[in-house]
């Protein structure tokens, strides 16, 4: 027997044992990537680097035989740096993307290829689960989300981006039938959380907190939950019953709602903190910014107007309506005005069309409904004149770019003109009501309540804040994401853990991508046009608040889903490089430089080989050699260009005939993956972590 010391602990082992094995017997974990138990070690990746006393160099534990009196250290600043750097170097030469570009862009981090795959294969239940895992209120979001994801869709380099929004609405709508998906709820923890604001952020927080077994009570000044989704977005875009169905899902999990209770009037933050174990402040950005010109008080507030419409209250607008602003609220106001019977609706915006913050589809839909968009115009004065209003405007031109990167509008001298109208709606933005928060001791910023970016913790212990209340008026998808993030932090807080927020996985993208790489990706992809959602006829659009866009028919949805290129890595969830990069806090672009290019070997019936992701650990080479595969695999080339391949340029199908599956399971990254592997659950092989 040989005795040695590992991290100060003595152990006696048989000769021939490796340091890695000895450490494992002591319960000391040393990370490895290239190591395959039972196969001769390669000792190449250096993740298992340890310091052996008396040696100048670090030693790979996987191949280092123990020696009498050996003193081993497995953890130190130096060792961590080496391991981190090894990962950073490997990632600098990695032609892979952990998650698809759409998913990487999605503020909610939705597994888009994952749920789309479910639609393509007819398993919409799985799709719903994949969506619900990351996104509360998917049906509402599917309708109104600006779909940043679609702009990143790789297909847009080939034909058109995938209709991701329409697809996730499709899944949510299907699910809202007789047996809607309700996520499992953990046993009650006995803790209770107060949520101020029952808008998208608050509802999402409740949705995830309830799943963890915490009680949630939502307080809201309105009579019905939904916040801006209900009161800020007209039914032609988001029907109230679709929203209600989703809120019902939160209710099913056990949420309690205290409606018509206003912060400062009916309760205080201090009181909530006394009665509950944690508080989430999600009050949104509700205060309308008026028209900043002379006589601005004669204009209707856009957001107030939309709320009255949502409540079914009568609003007298007259025939000639002018909406001022260029955001989604402005367009929603204009389209609502059309539906209320206004004959002549104009939107005035002080910059150009491409600077409009609203969705272009919405602008186009509004124009189709007869709305006139008047660009480079700003109001100067508004004055009543009998039963009508006189609006004086001036023409603008675009000057230098401002802080937001958009060109600043500059007034053209002598361009003033006056127009007569029956009403003016000012949709020029909303802001956060910060005074209440300040009074109760919450720190604030220029936009809203101050909260940590990752944990959403405020300056008050146990109080978290998120959504528009923190960011200022922003996208609904960011609000629901904030709700989910807050839920994770609050859960940590309630469990007595350190509050670190949602764990973020390290991830790498395929960049910069060149034409050859793009061509390699599109090599086998046929062009196919993007699906169009059905729309109701124009006659009905003009007179009712019926939803304009319908759900995709099943066939179209499946066809569209099959257009998905399923970007992202097949082994994103079981990739050792990625999980260790996360563990060691690797900066994936630290050593960016020349890198291998994306390519694919699809010749094998069981596995797909993507040499760009290979880390040259040669686990597959050794497994194939041990199984006496002929010709098997080999490392080919020299220097930086070394790659695993079949000798003499043969395809993978001729190199691996017996142990392809074992090789795919042992591959620490996505270089070799089962054809069937989309995510880890479908890769049920032994050895898959």
């Amino acid at each position: 027997m040989i005795s040695l010391t590992i991290d100060g602990r003595r152990i006696s082992v048989a000769p021939g044992t490796t340091v890695l094995e000895a450490a494992q017997w002591l319960g000391i974990r040393i990370p490895t990537m290239c190591h395959v138990p039972g196969i001769e070690p390669a000792s190449s990746c250096f993740l298992c680097a340890v310091q052996i006393e008396g040696r100048r160099t670090l030693s790979p534990a996987c191949g280092m035989p123990v020696a009498e009196g050996m003193v081993v250290v497995t953890e130190s600043e130096d060792i961590r740096t080496a391991r981190k750097m090894a990962l950073e170097l490997l990632l600098s030469d990695h032609a892979g993307e952990c998650v698809a570009p759409c998913a990487a862009e999605c503020p909610a981090g939705l597994d888009i290829p994952g749920f789309v795959y479910g639609i393509a294969t007819g398993d919409t239940r799985r799709s719903m689960e994949a969506i619900a895992d990351r996104l509360a209120l998917p049906g509402s979001l599917g309708r109104i989300c600006p779909r940043l994801c679609e702009r990143q869709c790789r297909r847009s380099d080939l034909d058109q981006g995938l209709a991701i929004g329409a697809l996730h609405r499709y899944v949510a709508d299907l699910d809202s039938g007789a047996a809607p998906y309700t996520p499992p709820r953990a046993p009650s923890t006995g803790k209770s959380v107060a949520i101020v604001g029952a808008g998208p952020a608050g509802l999402a927080a409740a949705y995830y907190l309830l799943q963890q077994g915490h009680d949630c009570t939502l307080f809201d000044a309105h009579s019905l939950p939904g916040g801006m989704l209900r009161y800020g977005i007209p039914a032609n875009r988001l029907p109230k019953d679709a929203l209600d169905a989703e809120i019902a899902g939160v209710l099913r999990l056990g949420a309690r709602f205290h409606m018509c209770e206003r912060w400062g009037e009916h309760f205080t933050l201090a009181g909530l903190r006394e009665r509950h174990d944690a508080v989430f402040v999600a009050i949104g950005a509700q205060r309308a910014q008026g028209l900043r010109c002379e006589g601005g008080e004669h204009a209707l507030a856009g957001i107030g107007f939309l709320e009255r419409v949502a409540n079914g209250e009568p609003v007298e607008l007259g025939d000639d309506v002018v909406v001022i602003g260029g955001g989604n609220t402005a367009i929603d106001c204009a389209r609502s005005a059309v539906r209320l019977g206004a004959r002549n609706v104009r939107v005035l915006y002080r910059r150009n069309r491409q600077e409009m913050p609203s969705l272009m589809e919405e602008v186009e839909a509004a124009e189709a409904e007869g709305v006139q968009i008047d660009l480079l115009v700003a109001p100067v004065r508004l004055a009543p004149s009998g039963r009508s209003l006189l609006l004086t405007c001036q023409r603008m031109t675009l000057g230098e770019a401002d802080a937001s990167g958009r060109r600043r509008p500059v007034a053209l001298d002598g361009s003033e003109f006056t127009t007569e109208c029956s009403s003016v709606i000012a949709a020029t933005g909303q802001s956060v009501e910060r005074s209440l928060a300040e009074r109760e001791g919450l720190a604030v910023t220029a936009w809203g309540i101050a909260a940590d970016e990752r944990t959403l913790a405020t300056n008050l212990p146990g109080v978290f804040a998120g959504g528009d209340a923190v960011l200022g008026a922003d996208l609904a998808v960011r609000a629901v994401t904030a709700g989910r993030m807050a839920a994770a932090s609050i859960h940590q807080f309630l469990s007595g853990e350190t509050v670190i927020g949602e764990p973020a996985m390290a991830g790498i993208g395929l960049r910069p991508m060149d034409d050859a790489e793009r061509a390699a990706i599109f090599r086998l992809i046929e062009q196919a046009a993007r699906v169009r959602a059905p729309e109701i006829p124009m006659e009905r659009r003009l007179v009712s608040f019926d939803e304009v866009e319908g759900r995709l028919p099943d066939e179209d949805a499946a066809r569209e889903a099959r257009r998905c290129l399923t970007c992202g890595c097949r082994k994103a969830d079981c990739c050792l490089v990625r999980s260790l990069a996360t563990e060691y806090g690797a900066d994936v672009y630290r050593f960016a430089g020349a890198r291998r290019r994306f390519s694919q070997d699809l010749s094998h019936p069981e596995v797909i080989y993507e040499p760009g992701k290979c880390i040259c650990c040669d686990a597959c080479v050794r497994i194939a050699a041990a199984a006496q595969e002929q010709p098997g695999l080999a490392l080919i080339g020299r220097g930086f260009d070394v790659a695993v391949g079949v000798p003499f340029g043969q395809p993978l199908s001729s190199g691996l005939r017996k142990v392809a599956q074992e090789c795919a399971a042992a591959c620490p990254t996505g270089a070799l993956a089962l054809r069937t592997a989309r995510a880890c659950e479908s890769c049920s092989l032994a050895g898959c972590p």
């Binding site: 190449s44 191949g63 035989p65 170097l89 050593f591 070394v642």
Partner: protein, 606 residues
């Protein structure tokens, strides 16, 4: 060689052949035939004076040596006429007439033989003892100079036992000449102590450092010496089989070694029951396919076994588990070439040379900006300055001595101010360089140290086997940084990045290639950091070397001779006789041809 006759030696090592020694030999043979003196022209290897190739050496019957360098077929004829006496009067008369005619035409002015005092004075030849003197393809030549006597001393009448041989080597203080400097005697003792009845000896002739050619020269010029050393190693550890792993890019070395094995077998110095003893040894040459990393012993073994040449983690060391899993002693060519001398003269004689921890001699391939390049053998302990100035004859063109690069891609740069460092394993290691296998490149003030580091790192990066993460990718990232700096695009954090990469590449790679790859970078950073900084912060190459950071300008010294315009390969200098020339920056590729062509120093680098 006939006793009492003149002997003409012509060097036909690869270096000689490359510089045109074959026509020289033919001319000498013709002349000897005319003179009726067949058999006096002897083909030898290289004596190391590569800067004067082709070389002809004439040894008089009294033993006086006249050496001629840069010989052509024409001058060869004159040499023959000067030293040979034709046995027919008619030939003698014709030669005298030819001499007169050529004297008038001054076609081939043949100067007096070259003096060689300075070049050889400080050298001590043990390894190179026979190089350039004997015919490598003739075993009798080797035997005539005590060849195989050391082996015979071991085998015949059992005068030296295996343990005594090991003791002699240990006592000589001989350390591995391949670079790492492991004590050879200790390696042999470990080999001998292994219980396995099957053992191997291997001669590592996979010399791959750019600019180094010690092993090639010895194998080409004196192959028996290496075979004898290897046979003694096999005898000492108890091996009966051995291999010489020689890179395929050394065809002459391979040919000569194979021929030597055949001859030795015929004469009973190899094969079954050598010299009637119970010791048998079969040797075989294996050609390496040109991977630098196969010079690393574990990779060499893989390659020898027919696998891809990739290093393995040590332990186990080859001496415990090597070729085909059996104990294997691997020694470098130069190490083995020392062995016969040590056995013949005793360990003490070898140990008497050199310093406390570095005994004997070391062969260097002297190259770079030096007057007399070539292969030299010096006693350990001599200073770098003596090598450069006394043996090498100082810096070419009177420029300033800036540094030496020692040890090739695994070594480092030692600045001129440390040139009094002795050639000694430990003293050199202290400077950050290494003894290495013997590459010694002399640099002058026109050499950019960043560029030098880049050059060597580019080599190691391309030759990495790709196994270890740090060596495969880390050296690439380091190289990218160096390339960036040379192009004037270095960032302010690049040096810090370079240093941290160098640190971990050196400590987290399995084999010597990766572990030493950062050395050229680290030493240049240590001694010439300001040059790096000038590239980065001032976008300037102080040595005027890096193409992206320099321009050429014609000064008022220009006499309009058009030499530069004729030399320029891209037409960046217009052909305008008797006018001051101009370099068009946009066309100029910074190849330096114009400056080298100019006779009036009228082209300066900005």
């Amino acid at each position: 060689m006939k006793r009492g006759a003149v002997e003409i030696r012509v060097g036909l090592g690869s270096c000689g052949v490359a510089s045109g020694a074959e026509p020289v030999r033919d001319a000498l043979l013709r002349a000897a035939k005319e003179a009726g003196a067949n058999g006096i022209v002897k083909t030898v290897g290289c004596n190391g004076m590569c800067h004067r190739e082709p070389l002809v050496e004439v040894v008089s019957p009294e033993g006086a040596v006249a050496l001629y360098g840069n010989v052509t077929a024409g001058t060869a004829q004159q040499i023959a006429r000067r030293h040979l006496r034709p046995n027919r009067i008619a030939t003698w008369v014709r030669w005298q007439v030819d001499n007169l005619k050529e004297g008038w035409r001054a076609g081939y002015p043949l100067g007096p033989p070259a003096p060689q005092g300075a070049h050889l004075a400080k050298q001590k030849r043990i390894v190179l003892e026979n190089c350039g003197t004997i015919d490598p393809l003739n075993i009798d030549d080797y035997l005539a100079r005590d060849g195989y006597r050391a082996l015979a001393m071991c085998l015949e009448a059992k005068r030296i036992t295996a343990d005594e041989a090991i003791a002699a080597i240990s006592g000589s203080g001989l350390r591995g000449r391949g670079g790492a400097g492991f004590p050879t005697g200790r390696k042999w003792a470990l080999g001998r102590a292994q219980a396995d009845p099957i053992k191997y000896v291997i001669c590592n002739g996979d010399e791959g450092d750019p600019g180094a050619f010690m092993d090639r020269l010895v194998l080409e010029s004196d192959p028996h010496r290496v075979l004898e050393g290897l046979a003694i190693a096999a005898y000492a550890i108890g091996a009966t089989e051995g291999y010489l792993y020689i890179r395929a890019e050394y065809p002459q070395a391979v040919r000569h070694t194979r021929a030597a094995i055949r001859q030795a077998e015929e004469r009973g110095f190899l094969g079954q029951n050598i010299r009637g003893s119970r010791f048998s040894l079969r040797l075989e040459v294996r050609e390496g396919a040109g991977a630098f990393v196969c010079g690393e012993e574990t990779a060499l073994l893989q390659s020898l076994e027919g696998k891809r040449g990739m290093p393995k983690l040590r332990p186990p060391y080859p001496v415990e588990r090597g070729f085909r899993g059996h104990p294997t002693v691997i020694n470098n060519v130069e190490t083995l070439a020392c062995v016969p001398w040590i056995i013949r003269h005793g360990g003490g004689a070898f140990a008497a040379l050199g310093t406390a921890n570095s005994r004997g001699t070391k062969v260097f391939a002297l190259a770079g900006k030096i007057n007399r390049g070539g292969l030299i053998e010096v006693p350990m302990g001599i200073t770098i300055r003596e090598v450069v100035e006394d043996i090498g004859g100082g810096i070419r063109n009177g420029r300033a001595f800036k540094a030496v690069q020692l040890g090739g891609p695994s070594g480092g740069c030692i600045p001129e101010r440390l040139a009094d460092t002795p050639i000694d394993y430990d003293a050199l290691a202290q400077t950050g360089a290494i003894m290495g296998s013997g590459g010694l490149v002399v640099l002058d003030d026109r050499d950019c140290m960043v560029d030098i580091a880049r050059f060597f790192l580019k080599f190691t990066q391309a030759e990495s086997c790709g196994k270890c993460t740090f060596c495969r990718i880390g050296t690439k990232r380091m190289l990218e940084i160096l390339e960036r700096i040379c192009e004037g695009k270095g960032g302010t954090d690049d040096l810090e990045k370079l240093e941290v990469l160098a640190d971990y590449v050196g400590r987290a790679s399995l084999c010597g290639l990766g572990q030493t790859a950062p050395n050229p970078v680290l030493t240049t950073l240590q001694y010439f950091r300001e040059e790096y900084e000038a590239h980065i912060h001032e976008r300037r190459c102080p040595a005027g070397r890096c193409p992206a950071l320099i321009r050429y300008r014609v000064t008022d010294n220009c006499i309009g001779c058009t030499l530069c315009a004729q030399a320029c390969p891209v037409g960046a200098i217009a052909y305008r006789p008797y006018e001051k020339h101009e370099v068009d920056d946009r066309l100029c590729t910074r190849c330096d041809m114009c400056r080298q062509a100019c006779q009036d120093e009228a082209i300066e680098v900005l």
